[in-house]
């Protein structure tokens, strides 16, 4: 049932997102939107010297699913290496969310991950990898 998508903790992430805002000196900055519904996510990442996520912030607008899942994502990837993040899939996001994502909302749920991974690709391309 779709109503299960709107569990209390999802709405809490939506209302009071974790890691909201910007960073002083981010290594990675990327943003994109989901043109279907207009959801927007902007992500900034600071890396430590081993290319692990030292800090991460995001800002965004959009539906509860896209914003809550990005909020959860930012918590989950802290301390992870870029390689580990690139290996994440939709299924990882679904597991973190612990709610049934209806097919038409998948793009909302994974928007944050897509933006983060695209940001990493741009970062690596810039660094000539």
């Amino acid at each position: 049932m779709t109503a299960d998508m709107y569990r209390e903790y999802i709405l809490q992430h939506y209302r009071s997102p974790r890691n909201y805002g910007r960073l002083e000196n981010p290594d990675i900055v990327h943003e994109d939107d989901n043109p279907l519904c207009g959801d927007q996510v902007h992500i900034e990442v600071a890396l430590d010297d081993q290319d692990r996520v030292a800090d991460i912030r995001f800002q965004g607008k959009g539906c509860a699913i896209s914003q809550a899942s990005t909020s959860i994502l930012t918590d989950k990837v802290k301390g992870k290496t870029l390689e580990e993040i690139k290996a994440l899939t939709k299924d990882d996001v679904f597991q973190w969310l612990r709610i049934p994502i209806s097919p038409m909302r998948v793009k909302c749920a994974v928007l944050g991950l897509m933006v983060l991974q695209a940001g990493i690709h741009h970062y690596e391309a810039r660094r000539g990898r």
Binding site: T2, Y6, L11, C37, G38
Partner: protein, 411 residues
């Protein structure tokens, strides 16, 4: 007869899908502006075609081809009558409104619009009546002039006059906005556009299912509609065009059927409508659309119009009583059969997902009208749109579901 309201219970029995449940609830289908459901008459017409007389049309002389050709051409006649076209040859079957509008933009547009000419459209267009003209303008170097429409008051003809001059080759507008439920004064626009020699294109995707269409009374030059929004099959639509204009137009798609004589490097082309129906036509689709039109004429388009508008007015008023709801578009008494709205700062997709759990199907998004949503200042709205099988109980279900959604977000 004409004065009597639509018998909702009888109509509902004509639509097999309404027997189904969604999430254990009765299906309350209020996404009719996106696509309508199909009466059994249409589904069975398709079935009969495929089970009994499927064949390619026009070009074979055997019995099945004969039956298929007669059915296909009689569908054209039915549509012509439905639109009050001067002759059936003015009805070109396309795959939908979108292809119909692109046909005009490519075939008429590339031959008639030149660098420095101007194209006029409104700021409430559906993307399908926006992008084809943008592509045309870019290809030939034409200028685009946009007429602002007030979401509540409608089109001010003075604003139209302000952009009309002899450089304007084409004016296009929606008959009914798919977001605002606003009807535009097509006949008046056509009269004024013709004074500067412009051709008038009407996007009737939303009006054709909702009210009687008389192309001669509207006085326009082209009119586009979609079968799937008119209780007919997907993948079929109509471009109606004044015969003299069609006859003077170069072809659009090249292929079988639209030719007169093909040589290895040059060809000559058939008269309309064949000239614009390249390749094997959408045979079943046209036959299904013919059945849909016949079904609607059985109900009477006047009654359909009264029905849809009464429901929309009622929905508009009922939604306004939900705290936090904003409704876009004209007041209830001037509203066509749809209502777009938003609820507090709940995103429209969340709202639509939540009301879906109550069996209520509404649409959420920009409804292919990004520029209008930019203007309204919201990225997305929720939209309930009405059809002949909807009734007051559907509106009650909608309002209940919206209340419930509000509770989820405010708990």
């Amino acid at each position: 007869m004409r004065g009597m309201p639509v018998d909702i219970e009888a109509v509902r029995r004509d639509f097999p899908i309404l027997a189904r449940q969604v999430h254990g609830k009765r299906l309350v289908y209020l996404d009719n502006a996106a696509t309508t459901q199909k009466p059994a008459a249409v589904i069975e017409a398709l079935d009969r075609y495929y089970r009994n007389y499927n064949a390619n049309v026009h070009r074979s002389v055997h019995k099945l081809a004969e039956e298929a050709t007669l059915a296909y051409e009689s569908a054209r006649q039915e549509v012509a009558r439905f639109l009050n076209a001067a002759r059936p040859e003015e009805v070109v079957f396309t795959s939908g409104t979108t292809e119909a509008l692109n046909l005009v933009a490519y075939a008429w547009g590339r031959a008639n619009v030149r660098a420095g000419d101007a194209i006029v459209y409104t700021d409430i267009e559906h993307h399908s009546n926006l992008v084809p003209w943008q592509l045309l303008a870019e290809a030939v170097g034409a200028e685009i002039r946009v007429v602002e429409v007030d979401p509540e008051a409608g089109l001010d003809l003075d604003r139209l006059e302000a952009v009309l001059d002899e450089r304007v080759r084409l004016v296009t507008l929606p008959h009914i906005s798919n977001v605002l439920g606003l009807e535009l004064p097509v006949a008046e626009v056509a009269r004024r556009a013709h004074q500067v020699g412009a051709v008038v294109v009407v996007d009737a995707a939303q009006s054709a299912p909702q009210q009687p269409i008389d192309v001669q009374a509207l006085g326009c030059d082209f009119l586009a509609l979609s079968g799937h929004k008119l209780y007919g099959p997907t993948g079929i639509g109509v471009l109606w065009g004044r015969y003299e204009l069609l006859a003077a137009m170069p072809p659009f798609l090249g292929g079988g059927e639209m030719i007169r004589r093909v040589g290895l490097t040059r060809s000559t082309f058939a008269d309309p409508p064949a000239r614009f129906e390249a390749g094997t036509p959408k045979i079943a689709g046209a036959i299904g659309l013919g059945a849909a039109v016949e079904y609607l004429e059985g109900l009477g388009m006047d009654r359909v119009a009264a029905h849809d508008r009464a429901l929309a007015a009622q929905a508009h008023e009922a939604l306004l009583e939900v705290p936090g709801v904003t409704v876009y578009g004209p007041p209830p008494d001037r509203r066509a059969g749809l209502v777009a709205f938003s609820l507090d700062d709940i995103h429209a997709h969340d709202l639509a997902s939540l009301v879906d759990t109550e069996g209520v199907a509404i649409r959420a998004g920009h409804h292919c009208c990004m520029p209008l949503h930019d203007r309204l200042g919201v990225p997305a709205t929720a939209r309930a749109s009405f059809a002949v099988y909807n009734g007051p109980d559907d509106i009650e279900a909608l309002v209940r579901a919206v209340h419930a959604a509000r509770k989820v977000f405010n708990r």
